[in-house]
Symmetry: C2
Subunit: 331 residues, 2 copies
């Protein structure tokens, strides 16, 4: 097998984050799912936006954020996702390309608009996300560049995009292409509500050995396994995926790979500003080590460093010189 | 004369700022006017955007930023400016209204798009602005709500918008309406290139006593008066406007009103992140005192506090609780 051209190709939501600080009272008043992610339709998006304080717009999307982190860390990356032919689609595409990521999925004409995520950040730094998928829910399998997928060492998929039908079909096709080419499949469960709806799919994929690297947080692991106890959840999945990465927010993270287990504490930080992108950047840090055959412990440490960088500023993508930061922190 | 409904109504650019950090080398490579503001056409805007690192989008516009500051400080404000009927126009309008500002200028159909300012921020925090005015250059006098202008204590105008013909006519008409209603006219010179092109207009307005409150920085004062020496520049203008406010960046600011002179030092800050909006927020702080009959010294101090808040984060509008900050700093 030849060396792949890309380290990672990802399929994910192509959305712009609309981020505002707000008080706890607004979360209650708007009846938001505090700390979680909720899919909303355009009418609800308009309603929430009207009630939202002044905001800043930054490109987002879980897998896209992870790729931005990976690219900043020096990996060769490509993205597949659906924007509309509008200004926010232009912003998303610009930011991907300006980060050094190949992104050539053609923009979609007409309605709906490019997806957006209305993010309310409370004083504790917690983000409450409300996602209007927009054009993203119409990513067709026909838009996949199969040669590109076959030419990437890792195919990275986000669970969020498993929910709408067309992208789910596209991701299933992408998995076939990647496996046929002997590539690895990384999958992030994204959010418990996705597992509530599609847990049978995910469990079947795990049983069939389709997933090589699984990213979950504590809550998702419980939903996926039905085990409220973290260790019981780990035990239920660890033997079925070559690499399991389970994050626990401020309590750090663990990874289990082929029977070896490693742990990492969360990095010490002064003040959490905005947790948006913490999980995405943890995955970026981890994969940046994994793709270069680092030890499991180093992969976790890189994940923790990347997650800590993104939560001390607004926005879901790194702002620091990540290669310099890794060098400084890892010595 | 009845108490006006609004403290301040402003006419200005309705633009979205596109802000990216970059190295000094990119400023040179793109041949940008470092530290200044340059008007660009759409082709150049596309060219510069393609070369720009990943960015964040925040509502901007000089007078609009000042109003956002004033509104956050508790003043009643209204804005007049031209956006297009597009996504960025929606972002601009949302952010104005969410800040508590009345903004009812109808969006303009068709091309050009809502204006945007491509802002390159170098490691020293200096911003280099490249403005595509877009729809803003077509603000017609017909779009003015004259009853609203007559019902605001202060009409605030930005020099940037003196450059395109239609808004210039609109602002001349607005001045007539405000004067007839016995209101005050505040004017910010905005940038030396505007004075290069329209200095004769500005000097005539000053001589005719049309301007009640004039905001300039050191460079603009020199361009306006032809005096390289700061004190000579102040002497040349101070007797001709009821209130002159001249800012000097890190060297503080002075104000002269009816023969009284006051000075303020710049606030001490840890690290300048992005100077975008510093002058706009100085004006907001100053006017927030002026509108409440504060002493000249207090007005300047409020200006310095507001300017210091905005340069320690990305974006041209306040993020802090400004009323609490003023109370804390002024005791």
């Amino acid at each position: 097998m030849t060396q792949p051209r890309y380290d990672v190709v990802a399929i994910g939501n192509a959305v712009v984050d609309v981020i505002a600080s707000c008080g706890e009272d607004l979360i209650e008043e708007l009846e938001l799912n505090r700390g979680g992610m909720t899919l909303i339709d355009e009418a609800r998006a308009d309603e929430l936006y009207s009630a939202m304080p002044p905001a800043r717009e930054l490109s987002g999307g879980s897998a896209a954020n992870t790729l931005a982190g990976l690219s900043t860390l020096g990996l060769q990356c490509a993205f597949i996702g659906q924007v509309a032919d509008d200004q926010l689609g232009g912003v998303f595409a610009h930011d991907m390309r300006a980060t050094g990521i190949d992104f050539d999925t053609p923009a979609r004409d007409g309605e709906p608009a490019t997806g957006r995520v209305l993010i309310f950040v409370t004083p504790d730094g917690e983000r409450t996300m409300n996602t209007f998928l927009g054009a993203g829910q119409f990513l067709p399998a026909a838009a996949l560049d199969e040669a590109l997928i076959a030419d990437a060492g890792i195919l990275y998929l986000e669970g969020y995009l498993w929910d709408p039908e067309e992208p789910r079909k596209a991701m299933r096709r992408a998995i076939e292409v990647a496996r046929k080419a002997g590539r690895k499949i990384a999958f992030t469960a994204s959010e418990s509500f996705v597992i509530d709806r599609h847990g049978d799919d995910f469990r079947a994929m795990i049983e069939e050995g389709v997933i090589d690297i699984l990213f979950v947080n504590e809550g998702e692991l419980a939903t996926l396994t039905g085990e409220d106890d973290f260790e019981a959840g780990v035990a239920a999945v660890a033997g079925k995926v070559p690499v399991l990465v389970a994050t626990r927010g401020e309590h750090g993270a663990i990874a289990v790979a082929n029977g070896e287990r490693a742990e990492v504490a969360a990095e010490q930080i002064d003040k959490v500003v905005d947790t948006t992108g913490a999980g995405d950047q943890f995955a970026a840090g981890f994969l940046s080590g994994y793709a270069r055959d680092a030890s499991l412990e180093t992969c976790l440490k890189r994940g923790a460093i990347a997650a800590a960088e993104v939560i001390v500023h607004y926005g879901p993508r790194p702002e620091a010189d990540m290669r310099a930061l890794m060098a400084e922190k890892l010595g």
